[in-house]
């Protein structure tokens, strides 16, 4: 009984506050706008602070504990202050060139990135094509899928001896290891994406009589793009894991070999700085692929 009474009450009282508020709002508008802007900036800063302050605090805490724990003489690992003293040049100047084997870590990372770019680029192209084949054809799935499932569990470095034997050179072998490591998640995710193309899109393609190429570029790739980018993102992460290990064994000027070299000459500080570089670059690679993915697949989500 009480509900309908309340309802009519609401309806009748609705127009009056609105009418009152209207002129007041117009007068207040310009003042409110600037106020709103500064408020928004403060809110934005708060937002940024909320995201950056906690990790900075944790990093600071770790450094302090680390410093206290390893500051005594004869410690097994160098304390942060020791690292800073010994490897300051590596941290501050990533791009120095002192000789053919004595270059900044930034340059070493770039050499490694070049290998990753070639290996991962090949893996992306071949992986998407193979994934499309496996996703599209039942017989290709039956023939290839079991092989993929077995090969993808082989650890990256297990491929290295065979590729060294096949290519007889360190650089293509390292690239092959990247390729073979990154390709499996790309194939598998692409295949899933292709299998999930809605029948509607296939019908549209059939009515329009799109040929295989048109179907691949106009329907398959855009429709499966979110899956493909999931695969690429996993793939780039694995590539970066594999390149460091592969370079330790193959030598050259990459960041992986730098670590091995530093270990052999007992420069622990250098190793720790190199680890930081690797982590930051790996993180950046992951974010880069994710960003490209969200740019490319914007609007792809069906509605």
């Amino acid at each position: 009984m009480a509900v309908p009474v309340q309802k009519t009450d609401n309806v009748t009282s609705l127009p009056s506050p609105k009418a009152n508020a209207k002129p007041a709002e117009v007068v207040a508008l310009p003042a409110r706008k600037s106020e709103g802007r500064s408020k928004r900036i403060v809110a934005r800063l708060k937002d940024i602070a909320a995201n950056t302050v906690p990790p900075l605090l944790v990093v600071g805490l770790i450094l302090v504990v680390w410093q206290i724990g390893f500051a005594r003489p004869g410690a097994s690992l160098p304390a942060p202050s020791v690292i800073w003293a010994e490897a300051k040049d590596l941290i501050l100047d990533p791009f120095f060139v002192m000789g053919p084997q004595d270059i900044g870590l930034g340059l070493r990372v770039l050499t490694s990135l070049e290998r990753v770019a070639v290996g991962f680029g090949l893996a992306a192209v071949v992986g998407v094509l193979l994934g499309a084949l496996v996703g599209q054809s039942v017989w290709a799935t039956r023939g290839l899928d079991p092989i993929f499932q077995v090969l993808r569990t082989v650890p990256p470095l297990a491929w290295l001896p065979i590729s060294l034997a096949a290519f007889r050179d360190a650089n293509p072998s390292a690239i092959f290891v990247i390729f073979i490591t990154a390709i499996w998640p790309i194939i598998i995710n692409t295949a899933v994406g292709i299998r999930n193309i809605p029948q509607d899109y296939r019908n549209v393609a059939e009515v329009l009589r799109l040929n295989t190429f048109e179907f691949f570029f106009k329907i398959m790739v855009p429709s499966a793009a979110p899956y493909i980018f999931t695969g690429l993102r996993i793939g780039i992460g694995l590539s970066w894991l594999a390149i460091v290990a592969a370079e330790m064994l193959t030598g050259g000027v990459g960041i992986g070999f730098f670590i091995w070299d530093a270990w052999n000459s007992s420069k622990l500080s250098d190793i720790i700085v190199a680890l930081l570089y690797i982590g930051v670059v790996g993180f950046a690679l992951d974010r880069l692929v994710a960003a490209i993915g969200s740019l490319v697949t914007r609007g792809t989500a069906a509605s």
């Binding site: 549209v204 855009p222 697949t297 792809t300 509605s303």
Partner: protein
């Protein structure tokens, strides 16, 4: 005069896990050029299968679909389909969705500028020219279906196949789109076949209503000619005795003689 579209003793059965299910049995129907034919029946009676057969998206088990005396056994743009759930490609804009069809159908026959004009002409025909740069996710359901119709019309089809085109829309949007389709049919005089389960929609739009019996092995139960002058006005028809009679005939068929027996 030979028939424009002829369905000649069509049977359709699906084989799944060794079991054969008969969906359609001995369907024969002829449709003239410029005719608007609705196919109505309870859900599961195979009316969508029938449309897919005409579209060529599925193959007949026996019999044949003949368009201008030539057998149809593959999909093609001369039998454009307006899909039930619009099937616009979400990564393309409204304009690009129609462009995909126009570029494919008219490549080599129309210049780039002509194709652009043709795309815009079709978008304007369904009153969607203003939203040409929007993506499907940014427009309403009714607007998406309009673009779907524009895409199908842009293929300049001999027959336009509409698979429950207004099924997912609210009643007001649906009425609005029905008026648009009637208007387009009056202007372009194209042949249209529409699947529906809405009796009023069938009577309002069609020259003939094909009523299907319930499956399995559904047949054409009855064909009703709707003898109402065009252009038809929704409001005038409400009290028109011929409209009421046609409506009653379809309702009697669906709910008296071929009532859907729900599986227990």
């Amino acid at each position: 005069m030979h028939a424009y579209l002829k369905l000649d003793h069509i049977d359709k059965s699906f084989i799944r896990a060794g079991q054969t299910t008969e969906v359609l049995k001995d369907i024969s129907l002829t449709i003239d050029q410029g005719e608007y034919v609705s196919i109505i029946g309870h859900s599961g009676c195979g009316k969508s299968t029938l449309l897919n057969l005409i579209a060529g998206l599925t193959q007949v088990t026996a019999g044949a679909v003949l368009l201008e005396n030539r057998e149809v056994n593959a999909p093609g743009p001369e039998r454009a389909v307006v899909f039930q759930n619009h099937s616009l490609l979400p990564w393309l804009t409204v304009y690009e969705n129609v462009k995909l069809a126009v570029d494919k159908v008219f490549s080599g026959r129309k210049s780039r500028a002509e194709r652009h004009d043709w795309i815009m002409a079709n978008l304007d025909l369904v009153q969607m020219g203003h939203a040409k740069d929007k993506r499907p996710s940014e427009i309403s359901g009714g607007m998406k279906q309009r673009v779907g119709i524009a895409r199908a019309l842009a293929m300049e089809p001999k027959i336009l196949l509409l698979d429950e085109p207004f099924g997912a829309l609210d009643a007001l949007t649906r009425a609005h789109l029905q008026d648009s389709v009637m208007d387009i049919h009056a202007r372009l005089k194209n042949t249209m076949i529409m699947i529906t389960h809405d009796v009023d929609e069938a009577v309002l739009l069609s020259d003939r209503i094909v009523m299907m019996t319930n499956g399995p092995a559904a047949r054409i139960g009855e064909v009703l000619a709707v003898d109402l002058p065009r252009p038809r006005k929704r409001l005038d028809l409400v009290s028109d005795s011929r409209y009421i009679a046609a409506r009653e005939a379809v309702l009697r068929f669906l709910y008296e003689r071929h009532r859907l027996v729900e599986a227990a």
